[in-house]
């Protein structure tokens, strides 16, 4: 047989065709009694419905966690989770934290060294010493 095919798997490029939001679940924990949850309780009462409405992609779970500080926990498609303690925060600050969890990819934070990362080959190609005019020493 002259040529065989090699089986491969296509690689996802999120956002090239469709965009899948990476945050799939947001857990909100609060305490009814403790003062550190005051902002969280106000957030749950007044701002969470609007937040949930404009982010239908995220499954939202609210559950009490008595005698503990309030916590936001985001679960991501890559299997990781991120938790933020929101004790003594105002509702507006908690909304900022919730947006931060929503926009995160779930990966560990790392420094982006290159301005562009791409799966495509470079158009220009790799420099070769054997092409072009040869320099004599």
């Amino acid at each position: 047989m002259p040529v065989q095919g090699i089986r491969a798997v296509t690689a996802a490029r999120n956002g090239v065709g469709a965009f899948i939001l990476q945050c799939k679940r947001l857990d909100l924990h609060y305490c009814d009694w403790a003062g550190s949850s005051r902002g969280m309780v106000a957030f749950l009462k007044h701002q969470l419905p609007a937040f949930a409405k404009e982010n239908p992609q995220i499954e939202i779970r609210v559950s009490p966690r008595p005698h503990k500080h309030p916590v936001l926990r985001g679960h991501y498609i890559n299997g990781r989770e991120k938790a933020i303690c929101v004790r003594n925060l105002e509702p507006e600050q908690i909304l900022q934290k919730a947006n931060l969890l929503k926009e995160a990819s779930g990966e560990k934070l790392k420094k982006q060294k290159k301005p562009v990362t791409s799966l495509n080959e470079s158009v220009r190609g790799i420099w070769s010493p054997y092409h072009g005019d040869l320099k004599s020493v």
Binding site: M1, I6, Q57, Y130
Partner: protein, 406 residues
């Protein structure tokens, strides 16, 4: 071009039918598939589906009273549970599914046939339709974009676009979670299937019961041309329908997570086609499948590229290829580099660098062959683009004689 009438042939997948009494007499008739409210329309708005659900809840007070207990007896979640699931609504929004695509159907696509053998409640029919659609759209894209690809590479590229592994990876990247075990009380937003027992061997020797004649003769050659006729779109033998039923009738069927996830993605494709129509299905395919990255030039595995190239030049009437050294360095050293070009007359067909003359020549021949096989015409149109309204007249696409026969 004549339009297909959805109603005439998709009735079994869309019509509301009662679950036949199969050992669960109490629930026979209480559980209905309500993906679509009536047969007059294939595009039920979400409000209609909700009305249908509430009507059936009123019909079944027994079920509502002891719903938690009765749900445990069902093999898969009841239809009315779809509206209560947050996971399901989130998945619907995450995939940007059209609003005409009801949550009840989304719940049905998540039930594999191994979890619920009843064809009215599992995703088998939707997956069959979705598989055909995926194969059709992927095939026409590949054949029109790369008309000269060898058949083996077409099979490999098909596997890369719509193969089992890719579909399972897509389901994972969509955030679909797997249920530990199927059941009526499980959240309908989880993918439900019976898992294969750990330690089961997946490679069970030669496959028999396929659609091929003489498939018990394992030593017989399976030629490329016969794969087009007998096998599926990846060049793999397809099981005859009678054979699969016999083998799975006595024991509970179990599948791998990969197979169940792939079936789910196929079923989503079929369900979008049925509920939202052809343009939406095509858009979903281009957004989720074609947008993925595949470098087709990495799918080739040549065994004798120089021989293939000389055969190709003879067939096409080019001058026979000659390899010439373009430049070299360090011939007597420990790491020499030769740059060899393959010329047909005055035209350079390909070029390659290697640490020996033979290696450089075969790399150059591979480059020349890939340059031929990966030809792609400009302004590619696929046959399914003729189904759009106001499509321009069809111009025949480029058809190639095919790969070189050695």
């Amino acid at each position: 071009m004549k339009r297909l009438q959805l109603q005439q042939w998709s009735g079994s997948a869309l019509s509301p039918r009662a679950r036949p009494a199969c050992g669960r007499l109490l629930y026979a008739g209480l559980r209905r598939q309500t993906t679509v409210s009536s047969t007059t329309t294939d595009a039920a708005p979400a409000a209609d589906a909700g009305v249908a659900t509430s009507r059936q809840l009123a019909q079944a007070p027994v079920l509502a009273a002891s719903s938690q207990m009765s749900r445990r007896l069902l093999p898969s979640p009841p239809v009315e549970a779809a509206r209560e699931s947050a996971k399901l609504a989130a998945l619907h929004a995450r995939l940007y599914l059209p609003s005409r695509f009801p949550l009840e159907t989304l719940a049905r696509t998540l039930v594999h046939a191994s979890a619920d053998p009843n064809a009215d409640f599992n995703n088998q029919s939707l997956a069959t339709l979705g598989d055909d659609l995926l194969a059709y759209y992927a095939t026409e894209h590949l054949l029109c974009t790369y008309p000269r690809l060898p058949l083996t590479v077409v099979f490999a590229a098909m596997y890369a676009y719509v193969g089992k592994k890719t579909l399972a990876a897509m389901a994972r990247e969509w955030g679909v979670e797997l249920a530990a075990a199927p059941g009526g009380e499980v959240d309908p937003g989880l993918l439900q299937f019976h898992r294969i027992t750990p330690g089961t061997s997946l490679n069970t020797g030669p496959i028999t019961g396929t659609t091929r004649p003489n498939d018990d003769r394992t030593s017989w050659r399976r030629g490329m041309t016969s794969r087009v006729v007998y096998d599926d779109h990846f060049g793999e033998p397809t099981m005859a329908p009678g054979a699969t039923q016999q083998s799975t009738s006595n024991i509970t069927p179990t599948v791998t997570a990969e197979e169940a996830s792939a079936t789910f993605v196929r079923a989503i494709m079929g369900a979008i086609y049925l509920h939202a129509g052809r343009p939406a299905a095509k858009r979903f395919f281009s957004q989720h499948f074609l947008s993925r990255h595949l470098n087709i030039s990495e799918l080739f595995n040549f065994s004798q590229p120089a021989r293939d190239l000389s055969r190709l030049c003879a067939r096409e009437g080019f001058e026979s290829p000659v390899a010439k050294i373009i430049s070299e360095t360090g011939r007597k050293s420990r790491h020499p580099v030769f740059v060899v070009g393959i010329f047909s007359g005055k035209d350079k067909l390909g070029e390659g660098a290697g640490s020996s003359l033979l290696e450089a020549r075969s790399r150059a021949a591979v480059a020349a062959l890939k340059g031929w096989y990966l030809y792609s015409p400009l302004d590619v149109r696929v046959p399914s683009s003729m189904e759009e309204d106001g499509a321009a007249p069809w111009k025949p696409v480029y058809i190639d004689p095919g790969e070189v026969v050695v």
